[in-house]
């Protein structure tokens, strides 16, 4: 990168490329934001900027348990699933990155298989199993599949991070008399924390985003998550489409994503680029 002179033409070229990327990424999101601030009359006007602004869509959805409860479910189910998945994935990823043991390639193959597994193929049998085990329409009924699908992502991302850790420290700890387990908990885990945060964000995104399991394994707001609840929004009468409230709800569930992206951009990019491809 050193001593590369840039011409004004290059600056303009890359500048406009940047603008195009940012615009394409943000316009559909800004459209949702705009809809969420439109009054019911303004919704019927296709202009990008609302002709009449209102907060009423937000006050409407945030004052009903039809949305608040699913929002709580989403946060709770997402957080618990992420925690379990990251803990289990860290253990497996440590083994994959550091230890020699037969069956390692089976584990990796299995994780790959699940990473690309068609979720719909699980819906019918899981629906039946969850009904007979009493897990249908409960938090664990969603946490269990979320953990299972978070694990491959976690194992890949974390084993990539774990390989970057200075392992001499572990050897030093072992020389000082630490067992491999102690070396893991006392030396490696703190060093691995940044990778674990990144992995947690990616797994949380996946849980937060899920829709298929959420509409299949729940039947009431007691365990339905926010994305699923939006699909059940109804208008003030049978004949009104609740466009404004739906847009407001969509914006609300997008806010945490934007916050994570703004604060952890570097880490998320590192996690996504190191986990899947980099050898």
């Amino acid at each position: 990168m050193a001593a590369v002179t840039t011409t004004p033409r290059q600056k303009i070229g890359w500048g406009s490329a940047n603008v195009v990327v940012v615009a394409l990424a943000l316009i559909p999101v800004l459209w949702l934001v705009s809809l969420s601030f439109k009054t019911p009359t303004a919704v019927l006007d296709p202009s990008f900027v609302p002709s009449q602004w209102t907060w009423s869509n937000y006050t409407q959805i945030l004052s009903t348990s039809q949305f608040i409860r699913p929002l709580v479910n989403s946060i709770g189910i997402g957080a618990i699933s992420t925690l379990i998945a990251v803990v289990l994935a860290s253990m497996a990823a440590y083994a994959v990155a550091r230890l020699q043991f037969p069956g390692k390639s089976v584990l990796i193959g299995m994780a790959l298989l699940i990473a690309v597994f068609p979720q719909i193929a699980l819906v019918t049998p899981m629906f039946s199993i969850e009904r007979s085990l009493g897990l249908f329409n409960t938090w664990p009924g969603l946490i269990i599949p979320y953990v299972a699908f978070g694990l491959p992502l976690g194992i890949y991302t974390l084993s990539a991070f774990f390989r970057e850790i200075p392992w001499e420290l572990e050897k030093a700890a072992k020389m000082d008399g630490a067992t491999p387990f102690q070396a893991f908990v006392k030396v490696i885990a703190p060093l691995a924390a940044p990778g674990m945060v990144t992995t947690a964000i990616l797994v949380f995104f996946a849980c937060w985003n899920d829709f298929l399991f959420a509409i299949s394994f729940t039947s009431t707001v007691s365990s339905r998550t926010a994305p699923a609840s939006i699909a059940y929004f109804s208008g003030s009468s049978q004949f009104t489409v609740p466009t404004g409230p739906i847009a407001a709800a969509a914006v609300v569930i997008t806010i945490p994503i934007i916050i994570f992206v703004l604060f952890f951009q570097r880490r998320i990019v590192a996690g996504l680029t190191s986990g899947a491809v980099k050898g």
Binding site: T6, Q10, G15, A17, V21, V22, L24, A25, L26, W31, L32, V43, P46, F48, L88, A89, M91, A92, L99, F101, G103, G109, M110, A115, V116, F117, P118, Q119, I120, A121, L122, V123, T124, P125, I129, A148, L151, I155, A160, F205, F211, L212, P227, I230, A231, A247, A250, V251, I257, I258, L262, Q265, I268, V269, L272, T273, S274, V277, K278, G279
Partner: protein
Amino acid sequence: MSEAVGTVAASETIEEPPGRRKPQLSEGARAERRLGWMLCAPAVIVMVAVTAFPVGYAIYLSLERYNLELPKAVKFIGFSNYAAVLGSPYWWQALKVTVIITVFSVAITLVLGMILAMVMHRTLFGRGTVRTAALIPYGIVTVAAAYGWQYAWTPGQGYLAAAFNNNAALTSEVKAIAVIILAEIWKTTPFMGLLLLAGLSLVSEDLQKAAKVDGATAWQRFTKITLPLMKPAILVALLFRTLDSFRIFDNIFILTAGANGTGSVSVLGYHNLFNALNLGIGSAISILIFICVAIIAFLFIKGFGTAAPGTDIAKR
């Protein structure tokens, strides 16, 4: 090119270390083994319990006549459910739609993702801003984005419908599929771009400079140096995106709910379970989708020589 060959060679050696160790399995090596298994066990148990077991159960269910509305009529009927699905035009329509969406969205996403990766990799300023903006479509809840697209294409309400003569795009099969593909592309290009960015960062700058000195044009450098070196990364990204696109559900469910012949195989499976309450047929559809995915993965790995990401993990 030597790097690509090196990748293959390295990935083939992964099985070696355990075998080499076998003759003198010291106490330490045995402890290491045990620890390895112990650390992996919880993850393996969860993954097997949640996927392998239900799939086995689905195979069993798919051989039964099992309608939730007629619980007394459950009966083993062999492959009749499969015959019913494969003989139904709905299955073939859904499969056709799924394949069309997959092919178009993955192909276009690959090109756009490559451009995005180039911009993220080479842009002179504002790199952080570009990456942050690109992560938003990746992170946004698909359902939330899908509602945005739906209203954008609603005649009389949406800016895109207004820009296209208030055409009711979502009510015609071809146009609705085009809108679904557009929504997929917007959502998944950043992911593709980031996977390709990882491959792009492995392409050496020196090689590029040497080619430049030798008089190669930018396009020549791209096709003769960058693309061949990125081939492994491109194939992995394609494998992931293809399999992910094949299970498309959320966008279709919100945009059209599968009306007018726009349903994918996943939408078909969902409707079969929750509208027809037919566990037998639903399970047969599940198994067929699973087989399709297995075929796609097999073609990629055997046909194109895609290094499964797992082999990359074990290497080094």
